[in-house]
């Protein structure tokens, strides 16, 4: 299992809003695939998959605010499937 968290986006930015998900539960994703887009005041930022795997959980709905470090999704390893 691999947790996908909101990364550090820069000094003074401690949260962002989930704009949209590019994946669904059950999808196979490769490392660095875009999983979701978050938005801060004047920037959008695509959060990429930290490894390949299957999307097991999507924990934050579109439109919800998240904090830096918060878990957004969980990826399962391929052999678990």
């Amino acid at each position: 299992m691999r947790r996908v968290v909101l990364p550090e986006l820069g000094e003074g930015i401690d949260k962002a809003t989930v704009a949209c998900w590019h994946c669904n539960i059950g999808d196979y994703v490769r490392k660095d695939d875009d999983l979701l887009e978050v938005v801060t005041d004047k920037a959008t930022f695509n959060v990429a998959a930290p490894s390949e795997g299957i999307v097991k959980e999507i924990l934050v709905p579109e439109g919800q605010e998240v904090k830096v470090g918060e878990v957004l999704a969980v990826l399962g390893t391929l052999d678990v499937q």
Partner: protein, 253 residues
């Protein structure tokens, strides 16, 4: 520090007046190229009139009806940049820096701030004193806005960027509530009371941009003539800054 022509760090692409959607597709291709290790690209252009809706845009910030927009041939495009609604039109210089922000500290706010500074310095070159407005990204002259900024970032590669009103027809902004605010827009032409030479603005802003980000322009066939002056000026100064050094080939400390 010595700088040689082999130091390829940044390319300029100037498409003149180009349809927004075409330019967006080009931006996406450039993002892929930079992801694959291509030098940074500064993509400059102007767009025929179009309204774009950033991720924070609200429909009520368009102040005219869909029928009127249709009659005037103005499209409304939802796009993946930060910010609210904005208008692009001929006479507005749009700059899309495609940069690997991992080289510049992975800091969205610092990057936005640097874009503001590039625009402030540009305006200063034309004798226009501009400033930031606390909590409102962009560049301002008094209470009027002259530069709008909104970016997108994918795998730490930046796209979208800044829109500088050079000779923009300001009446067009009456169609929208720019950036969702009750704000008046202005332009360099309005401040200077005369049409501004767009090519001069491009040269200056590219020069300022490269200095601010420590980029050295790549020598390339199609842009060589147009930007020769900037190239030679940068070479004379021997720019090979901390950030650029990671990409520089043959760059001696």
């Amino acid at each position: 520090m010595l700088q040689t022509q082999k130091d390829i760090l940044c390319e300029i692409k100037d498409d003149g007046l180009i349809d927004y959607k075409k330019a967006y597709e080009i931006q996406k291709r450039y993002v892929q190229k930079v992801q694959q290790g291509h030098p940074s690209i500064i993509y400059v252009c102007e767009h025929p009139s179009v309204l774009t809706l950033g991720r924070s845009a609200m429909a009520e910030h368009i102040l005219i009806s869909p029928e009127e927009l249709n009659e005037r041939g103005i499209e409304v495009l939802p796009i993946d940049r930060g910010g609210d609604i904005t208008l692009h039109a001929p006479g507005q210089l749009v700059i899309y820096p495609i940069l690997d922000l991992q080289v510049f500290g992975k800091d969205l706010r610092a990057y936005l701030c640097k874009l503001e500074q590039v625009a402030i310095d540009l305006l200063n070159c034309f004798g226009i004193v501009a400033h930031r407005f606390d909590g409102k990204t962009g560049v301002w002259i008094g209470r009027k806005k002259i530069v709008s900024i909104g970016i997108g970032v994918r795998r730490w590669i930046s796209y979208h960027g800044l829109a500088i009103n050079v000779n923009t027809d300001l009446a067009l902004f009456s169609m929208i509530k720019p950036c969702g605010m009750d704000v008046k827009m202005t332009s360099m032409a309005q401040i200077k009371r005369g049409i501004i030479d767009m090519n001069e603005v491009k040269k200056r802003v590219i020069s300022n941009f490269c200095q601010a980000f420590g980029l050295t322009l790549k020598e390339s066939g199609d842009d060589q003539g147009k930007f020769a002056v900037i190239e030679s000026r940068l070479s004379e100064r021997g720019l090979c800054l901390r950030e650029g050094a990671r990409h520089a080939k043959g760059c001696s400390p």
